[in-house]
Structure formats: C-alpha cells, structure tokens
C-alpha cells in the first residue's frame, strides 16, 4: 500500500512491468478456441452463464458487425439480402463473408494508421500523407498476413514512403530513436516506457538503461524529410555510429548503449540499421514475448466490447488492473496458436453470444465492467463511410497548389471526406469512451455545404433523396426507406407516427422529407455503434 501510494505521489509516469516473475508469462499451453469456449470463459469471469447473454435481433447484428468489420453501416440492399436469408447459420456465414470483403482490410488499416499517426509529432515543413501506408496495410490484412509479419515489415522497412509504405512508421518519426522506442513499446506491446527516458522507475524493473538500450536498435536509422510532400520521405542507413544515453547531469558525457531488448537479449554494436531493426522485430514478435499478442488482443477486445482488458489499451503491465484475465489470456493463446491470424481472432470474437448480445434498454453501473453492452462512438472514417454508404456523397479532392516563390508551403487540398474524418476523428488509443462529441462535429453535420447538398429534394439535384422521392409516392414506405438508408433498421410504429406527423405539418412534401433526412443524419443514433 505504501508503495502504491508513493507511486501515486511520483505521478509522472508508470511502467509497471516486472518481466521475469510475471505470472502472466507462464500460461497454460496455447490452444485455439471455439466461440462456445470463449463464451463460457467470459461468463465465468462475469460470474454468470452464457445463456444470460441474450441475443440482439438480426437487424442490430447486421449493423454492428458491418460497422465493426467494414467500418460502415450496411446498404439497403445488404439489409434486404440478409433479411431474406433464413438459414440457421446466417450470422456465421455473414461474418465469414465480411471478413473476406476488401473493406475489412481498409477498416483495419484506418484503425492502425490512426493509432500511429495521432502520436506523430508534426514535422516542420512537411505535410504527412498516410494514404500509401493505409493501402499497404489494407492489402496485408486482406491477404491474411499474420500480425507478426505485418509488424516486422513496419519495423524493418527502408526507402521512400511512396515506394515502400511500410517505412512510414520509422519515416514519420524521423528516425528519432527515443520516440521510436517509446512508440514501438506503446503500440505493439501496450507498454508505456517513455518515462524511463529520463529516470529509473523506483519500484519497477524499468530502468533508464532499458529504455535507452531499446532506442539503440534505431541508432542507425536515418530519415530525410522533404519540404511539402510527406510520401517523399526517405529512410536509409546512417552507416555508422552508436546510440548514446544522455547522462542525467546534462553537463556530463552520455554513455554508449548496446541494443538490448526488454528481456535482456543483447545485440552487437557495429551492426547495420537493418540488422538491428530486424533483430528487434524478431524479439518483439517472438511468441515467448506474450505482451506482443496480448496487446493486439487487448485492442481487438476493446473494439468489440467497448473497453479493453487493460485501460487505456496502451498501458498494460503486471501492476495494472487486468479485467477478465482468464479471457484475455485465453484469447492471447488463441491468437498465438493461430499464428497471429487476425481474421481468425475477429471471427472467434464475433461468433460469441457475448458479442451478439443486445444492448440493455436501461444501462446500469454493471456496464462499466463488460456485463452490458454500451453504445459507443464511431471513428471519423466510419462516420464518413457511413454517410457515403447512405448518400453517395461526391468526394472531390481540391488539387494542392504547386509551391511558388511566394507560397512555398501550400497546404494540401481537403475533400469532404478529409473534413469529416478530421472533425470526427480521435486517437484510437484513448478509446471511444474518452472521446467527447464537440461543436465542430455538430456544425459540420448541421451546415456543411457538401453534406447539405445531399439534403435536397429537387429532382434536378440528382441526390439519393430526390430519386427516392420520385420512385416512392407512399410516405410511409419512404419513411421506412430513409430509416433503412440512414440507421440500417426499420422505424418503430411510434417513429413512423411521429415522422408522418411531421411530414403532414410541412406543406411541401420535398421539404418535409429534407427535414427528415437531415434529422436522421443529425440523430445521435447515426454516429453511434450499438
């Protein structure tokens, strides 16, 4: 207790890792799990029975699973096809189908690219571009590339970002060894070790040496960042030099460090940039280092359950609180036994009764501990892709002006997609619960010119709304279609009633339906996962 209090007082940072004697490093043999096994474990952890997870209806399931796997709501057509499917294993087959949809990779790529990008310090005169990295990641995920191989590639790539997008991580951190060490540990191990950059942690195994020996793996990465175009950034080998840990007393000379991984595996000085980074990737992704798998599983779980086993997701460690530890360890075992198969992990999670349970009508305090499903926020890209799915918003990227003598750093043009993604976006490591709605989001949805252009009943406008108005003369049916279009469900009788009431109160039919479309677009439900 005293020790814990003292930790509180120190209050700068904590990296509570005791590597050697962690009970978590000596688990049962790793096996793949079946959904029923997982449900049993979750239920045990929650001191209940799997049967208490009462399933949500098909419509809710379709929207949830499409959002989680593809990052958008289902189209009206997809809703109809799914509704018409009467086979008993339709959910299972849907999950498989979505995992093989190309948008699955895109969605994973958006998540991981954001996870990195939100903590990249803005460079001085360069506009960073993440599209090449996202496309590369999407392909990797879609091809079923195991997570360890993806991360190895991220850590060991070199060359120009435009040609070798996997080099983005090292490139955009400008080859900065401390920043790369801290972010590698945080993103891929779920460990906050950056505080050990400046001082030993008094109650943990994290010493300054740990941090700086990790940084030494990046000692020879060299980055050249051009003006303006981020994708032209080049990573190369410095060809010489070692990493020096600064002395605590800045007037004294620092100490040259060997690359040493967190468990104590040492590596040689004098090695090349790529040799070092390859060695780091090997040790990091070695299955003996369970934190690597545990960290991925923690983030995957947060995305489907609303909170991580550890929170925030990038602050794991033996002195941190781990919720449902048996579930976390079993899932980690599954991920390891499947050789870091990302699709297999999501397939397992999404097939559980637990995942498919319904949101309670009135949430209780229980919800904070996983018993109940809570509504949560969509990421920025999910908000836009949902708008796009429903309304086919034209995306025009204004060209970036060429640099001139007067304007040397013309900012890149922004499309409506960029604007929505930026306004609704958030750092995924903070989790959807930490992120609050803000006024810019509200004003964007209320007034943005390009979005409002879609709220147009005029037949000449060619909008989705105008076409529906022409095709469908029955108001009730049109109300139903707009609900399906925007919220991927049918309206309740009460909802139909109040929409009808509104439509009757506005003399012009087109205007009345413009109101309804606007109201659905601005509804809380539209930007909520449930």
């Amino acid at each position: 207790m005293l020790r814990a209090l003292a930790v509180g007082f120190l209050s700068c940072c904590l990296a509570n890792v005791t590597w050697a004697d962690s009970p978590l490093t000596a688990p049962r043999p790793d096996n793949t799990l079946r959904p029923a096994d997982l449900d049993r474990l979750i239920a045990q952890g929650l001191r209940t029975q799997p049967e208490t997870f009462s399933p949500c209806d098909d419509v809710t399931f379709l929207r949830r699973v499409t959002l989680d796997l593809l990052g958008r709501i289902p189209t009206v057509e997809e809703q109809r096809i799914y509704a018409a499917d009467e086979s008993p294993d339709k959910r299972e087959r849907l999950i498989k189908r979505l995992l093989n949809n190309e948008e699955f990779g895109k969605n994973q790529a958006n998540y991981w690219s954001d996870t990195i990008a939100y903590r990249v310090a803005p460079p001085e005169l360069t506009f960073l571009e993440y599209d090449p990295f996202k496309s590369w990641l999407a392909t990797e995920f879609n091809q079923g590339r195991p997570w360890d191989q993806i991360v190895s590639k991220v850590l060991t790539s070199t060359g120009k970002v435009a040609d070798e997008p996997a080099a983005t991580f090292v490139a955009y951190h400008q080859g900065h060894p401390q920043k790369l060490a801290a972010e590698t540990a945080r993103i891929f191990l779920g460990m906050q070790i950056q505080c050990a950059e400046c001082h030993d942690h008094p109650f943990d195994d994290w010493k300054r040496e740990h941090f700086h020996s990790l940084a030494a793996y990046f000692a020879r990465a060299q980055v050249k960042m051009p003006w303006n175009k981020g994708a032209e950034t080049v990573v190369s080998d410095k060809g010489k030099g070692e990493y020096t840990m600064p002395d605590v007393d800045p007037s004294k000379k620092g100490k040259e460090m060997r690359p040493v991984f967190l468990y104590g595996e040492e590596y040689n000085t004098g090695t090349s940039d790529l040799e070092r980074r390859a060695e780091l990737a090997r040790l990091l992704t070695d299955e003996k280092n369970r934190w690597f798998a545990r960290s991925f599983v923690n983030r995957a779980w947060e995305r489907i359950a609303g909170a991580g086993f550890y929170n925030p997701v990038d602050n794991m460690g033996v002195n941190q609180i781990q919720l449902l530890p048996e579930v976390h360890e079993a899932l980690t075992g599954h991920f390891l036994a499947s050789r870091y198969d990302v699709k297999s992990l999501f397939e397992l999670l999404l097939q559980t009764r637990y995942y498919q349970r319904q949101m309670p009508l009135t949430p209780t305090e229980q919800a904070l501990r996983f018993e109940e499903l809570l509504p949560s926020r969509l990421r920025g890209d999910e908000v836009f892709d949902t708008l796009q799915t429903a309304l086919a918003v034209p995306v025009v990227k204004p060209p970036t002006a060429a640099p001139t003598d007067a304007i040397r750093f013309p900012p890149p043009g922004k499309s409506i997609r960029d604007a929505v993604v930026e306004t609704f976006g958030y750092d995924p490591s903070f989790g959807p619960k930490l992120v609050q709605r803000n006024m810019s989001q509200a004003m964007l949805m209320m007034n943005n010119e390009e979005l409002q252009a879609q709220v147009n009943a005029d037949p000449a406008s060619g909008t989705v709304l105008s076409k529906l108005l022409q095709e469908q003369s029955e108001d009730d049916k049109l109300i139903e279609t707009l609900y399906e279009l925007m919220l991927a469900r049918k309206p309740s009788a009460r909802e139909s009633g109040l929409c009808r009431e509104h439509i009757q109160s506005v003399p012009n039919r087109g205007e009345a339906f413009e109101d309804l479309l606007w109201s659905l677009m601005n509804s809380a439900e539209f930007t909520t996962r449930r």
Partner: protein, 439 residues
C-alpha cells in the same frame, strides 16, 4: 454556449485504475499545499480579476519581426539599416519611422526590449512562445488561448472563448489545443468579416429550428432503445451549437455596420480588419483573440531573410495603423482597462544585415509589447547594447511572459490539468512575474 466538457472523474475513463485513483488523491494533497501561496497572493492583490472578465488580444507577427525596424532602433550602429528613428508620445523613447501611428500612442504601450529565449528555429520557437513549454516530440502542449479557455471552462459564453483571426503563414508549425483536446481549440476566422464554413445555417433559421426539433424527437426514441448516454451528450452539444449558429451575437463577426472611416483607420488589410473584429469580439466577452500578421503577400511573413527591405515597409504598414487604432478604439470604448493587448512574434532578427538587406533569426534582445488591463504602460523595460547584440539589462524569458499573462488575467499559473493519457501538467512551468510591468 461554449462550455467545454467537464472532466467527469471516474466515468471519464469508464473504469478508473487504481493508480489513477491514487494519483488523483495524492495530487490533490500536493496541489493544495503548492497553490496556497499563489492563492493568498491573488486574494491580497487582485481578488476579483477573474470576475472582471478580462480578455486578451495577441497580435502575432508571424515569422519574427526585426527589433531594429520596429521598437528598438539603434541609430548610429552599422546594424541599423535604412529605418530611421522617430520620437513618440513617450518622451525620450524612439521607435522606427515605419511606425508613425504607433508612435503617437506609445504612452499606451510598455515595451520589453530584453527578450532572451533559447530557440531560434521557427517551429521550436513558435512552440515555446505560444505554449510556454519547450518543444517536446512526445507531447503537444496547448497554446495560451486554449489554456485560458480551460482555466475558464466553467464560464458559459455564447461565442467561443478562443478565436483566431488570420491563418498562420505555414500551417505545419501551428500549435493549438494539443493535449487539452479539441474542445479547447481555437475558432478560426481566416478572413475578417467572413465566417468559416459550417457556421452559418444553409436554410432559414425557422427551418433549422424545425429540423432541430424533429431530430430531438427522433433522439428521444433512440434513448428508449438504450441510447441514453449518447443522446444526452449529443443534445448538450447540439444545444450549444444551435444557440451559437442562431445567436444574435453572431453579428459581432460582421464588420459591415462599422463606420467606413473607422475601417479605413484600422487599414483595409486582413490584419487591420482582424484587429477591428478583435475589438468587437472582446466587446462581446470573448476571452482570447489572436490576430495573425503575415503581410498577406507570401508565406514568408515577418521572416525577412531575403530582401528584408522589400517586405518590411509592407509588413509595418499593415500593422502600424491597426495596432494604434486598436489601442485607441479599445480605450474610447472603455475596453482597454479590461483587455490585455500583446504584440510579439516568435523571436527577433540578426543584428548584422545580409548583403541583400535581409536578417536571419535571432533570439537575444528581441521585443514584446504589452498594453491594457493591469499593465503599467508608458515605459520601456530592459535594454540591449548599442549594436543590439545582446541584452544588457533585465532579460525576460518566455515563461515569464506566461506567468504575466496568467497574472493579468487572474489565472493560477501553477494550476494543473490532466492530459488524456493521465499526465499532470502545470499551466506554466517555471517563469517569474515581470513585476515592473504590472500595476
């Protein structure tokens, strides 16, 4: 209705970790003992500062203005260049001749001629002078407008508390709310007189109200499906957004009803009209307005490396009438006594003039100017040697400016906030009040 979200303690995290809980408990005890002295000081010296609702206008000379060509000419030194000195409303104090209008109101200004800071690269200096912290790749510190918005987070206002007019000349170097989060970001007006996109409703107010009523009824139904928390938060945000976009106070952003003569006096430049807008905004109680000067011709702004005398007259002509008129106009309306006005850039320029007339970056002996609320004006603080090479009297650091802003605006500079990843940060780290500057 701008009231940034309040930190909800336990529920902010969903699950509060033991360490966070302990840290908070421990932090409270520590903070209590540290801040006691400051609070006593505030009580004794300026108990109602906060209630007086003081505002601040920051006139930001983007790129780093030359001290020789503004408020510290060195006549007789070979470093001076073509600018002459002129006498001012302050007997014995001369400034560069490109500032004739400002010279007439110099009694309303306190000049600090002894800024001495460690950073002479734009990105690092901007980060330092706009946040009070040296640049750190691991953490995005917030700028003062965000800090002030955070400190006043419980004050509900119809207009945003932090408004920025004009664009930074190179956006990659920009700093904003950083770790405080987007709720404390600036509300940006690129061109004075025009509102940014998404603010003005695209339909008649009546239609917008009708739609807001309908969406709120739809939300009520979602609430019954279990969406209570989302609906409550959304309704709060939409309520504030709707009040803002439909507010009669939005007229403050419109300059058309200002007399032409006054608009001319401010100067028909984006910066000049921006200063006029700044006055209108503080009149409406906006806490912090920043007006950015870049000369509007290129993205070099005040960064006059090359052909310094090509851009210098244009830059000075943009700021001189605007600055002088702003101080007069604020005073005429009784606003100067509750508005702090600060003129500055991220550093100064090298004493030695290059062959093409330009000057490079220089962080020794540069200038900031203070006016308004709580400022003892009509004085010069600090000095540099005859060639302007270094500070000879009373060096002032970046952190000193921030402690002084806090003092003038009634904010405790040692107050702490938590970043989203639970790091406690002081509003200002280090620094001392510039005693002789304040009343």
């Amino acid at each position: 209705m701008f009231q940034p979200e309040l930190c909800l303690g336990v529920t902010r995290h969903g699950i509060e970790s033991r360490r966070l809980f302990l840290r908070r408990a421990a932090g409270l005890a520590v903070a209590g003992s540290v801040t006691l002295g400051w609070r006593d000081y505030l009580m004794a010296h300026a108990a109602e500062l906060q209630q007086q609702g003081r505002s601040m206008i920051l006139l930001w000379m983007d790129g780093g203005p030359s001290q020789f060509d503004t408020f510290n000419p060195k006549i007789g030194s070979e470093n001076q260049g073509p600018a002459k000195a002129i006498s001012t409303a302050l007997p014995g104090v001369e400034i560069a001749d490109m500032w004739p209008k400002t010279a007439q109101v110099l009694d309303k200004i306190a000049i600090i001629r002894s800024m001495r800071t460690p950073e002479a690269e734009h990105d690092r200096a901007i980060a330092h002078l706009r946040t009070g912290y040296r640049m750190n790749p691991a953490i995005q510190y917030p700028t003062f407008g965000s800090i002030l918005s955070w400190a006043r987070r419980e004050v509900v206002t119809e207009l945003p508390p932090f408004i920025r007019i004009g664009k930074p000349r190179i956006i990659t170097r920009d700093v904003n709310a950083g770790v405080l989060g987007s709720s404390y970001s600036s509300f940006d007006i690129d061109r004075a007189g025009q509102l940014p996109p998404n603010v003005l409703p695209r339909v008649p107010h009546e239609t917008l109200r009708r739609r807001l009523a309908l969406t709120s009824r739809l939300d009520d139904e979602f609430e019954k499906l279990g969406g209570q928390s989302e609906v409550a938060e959304k309704e709060g945000v939409y309520d504030r957004a709707a009040r803002f976009v439909l507010s009669p106070k939005m007229d403050a952003f419109d300059l058309d009803d200002e007399p032409d003569s006054l608009r001319d006096e401010y100067g028909r430049t984006n910066f000049g009209q921006g200063c006029l807008l700044a006055r209108r905004l503080v009149e409406q109680g906006v806490s912090f307005v920043e007006v950015i000067s870049t000369g509007d011709k290129n993205d070099a702004g005040w960064d006059t490396h090359k052909a310094g005398y090509r851009d210098q007259p244009n830059l000075c002509a943009e700021v001189d009438p605007a600055y002088a008129t702003l101080l007069r106009d604020l005073e005429d309306r009784g606003l100067l006594e509750k508005t702090v006005v600060v003129w500055m850039g991220e550093f100064g320029r090298t004493p030695k003039i290059k062959a093409d007339g330009g000057r490079d970056h220089y962080a020794k002996g540069w200038i900031t100017c203070f006016s308004g609320a709580g400022v003892k004006t009509g004085q010069v603080i600090g000095a540099t040697d005859k060639d302007g090479l270094d500070v000879t009297d009373r060096p002032v650091a970046a952190e000193d400016l921030f402690v002084t802003y806090c003092h003038l605006l009634g904010v405790d500079p040692r107050a702490e906030y938590y970043t989203a990843d639970d790091r406690p940060l002081k509003l200002v780290n280090g620094g001392k009040l510039i005693e002789e500057l304040v009343v």
